[in-house]
Amino acid sequence: TQLLEQSPQFLSIQEGENLTVYCNSSSVFSSLQWYRQEPGEGPVLLVTVVTGGEVKKLKRLTFQFGDARKDSSLHITAAQPGDTGLYLCAGPGIKTSYDKVIFGPGTSLSVIP
């Protein structure tokens, strides 16, 4: 069974601090996606990583896909209150479950001004 785990579950930091959140699995994923969700809204896609070892940057956000494609990290530099939200990682199922999308439980981030 493919599962994605995320850590930490909750994170509360001061504005300007740096942070890293993690997404891990014992299974290989062909790709991983990161989403951010604000309260009362649907998740919004941030990035897709496909190649093992890949690093993608989106302004102050840096995403990395592990070499073995079993894990990913999201690093935020100089966090701002607008970064507050639930960060979800997700990946496609394999073989006969390809049409399913596997989501992690999320990391809830609160950035305090």
Binding site: T48, L86, D99, V101, P105
Partner: protein, 110 residues
């Protein structure tokens, strides 16, 4: 560009009443469509997905059902709501690896 609509935005229903949530997608053809439920501050629970008209896969057997009467329409239903059906319901469509979500429906069962 593609857009996804959900309605209603909020709903308060008594236990035992029926439910119908609707999702429509514009700007794409034959999308994979998904229904998720989310408890407060937590991850997404996949309820149903569909790869085509009339094709429904159920992930969580319970008192909910789904239908896809048209290519870009996905409906979530229940004949009798339970208190445990309360939550935030999200519809999504999929393009390649990525999913795109609607604004969600907040359902409170009283």
């Amino acid at each position: 560009s593609q857009t996804i609509h959900q309605w209603p935005a909020t709903l308060v229903q008594p236990v035992g009443s029926p439910l119908s949530l609707e999702c429509t997608v514009e700007g794409t053809s034959n999308p994979n469509l998904y229904w998720y439920r989310q408890a407060a501050g937590r991850g997404l629970q996949l309820l149903f997905y569909s790869v085509g008209i009339g094709q429904i896969s159920s992930e969580v057997p319970q008192n909910l059902s789904a239908s896809r009467p048209q290519d870009r329409q996905f409906i979530l239903s229940s004949k009798k709501l339970l208190l445990s059906d309360s939550g935030f319901y999200l519809c999504a469509w999929r393009l390649s690896y990525e999913q795109y979500f609607g604004p969600g429906t907040r359902l409170t069962v009283t």
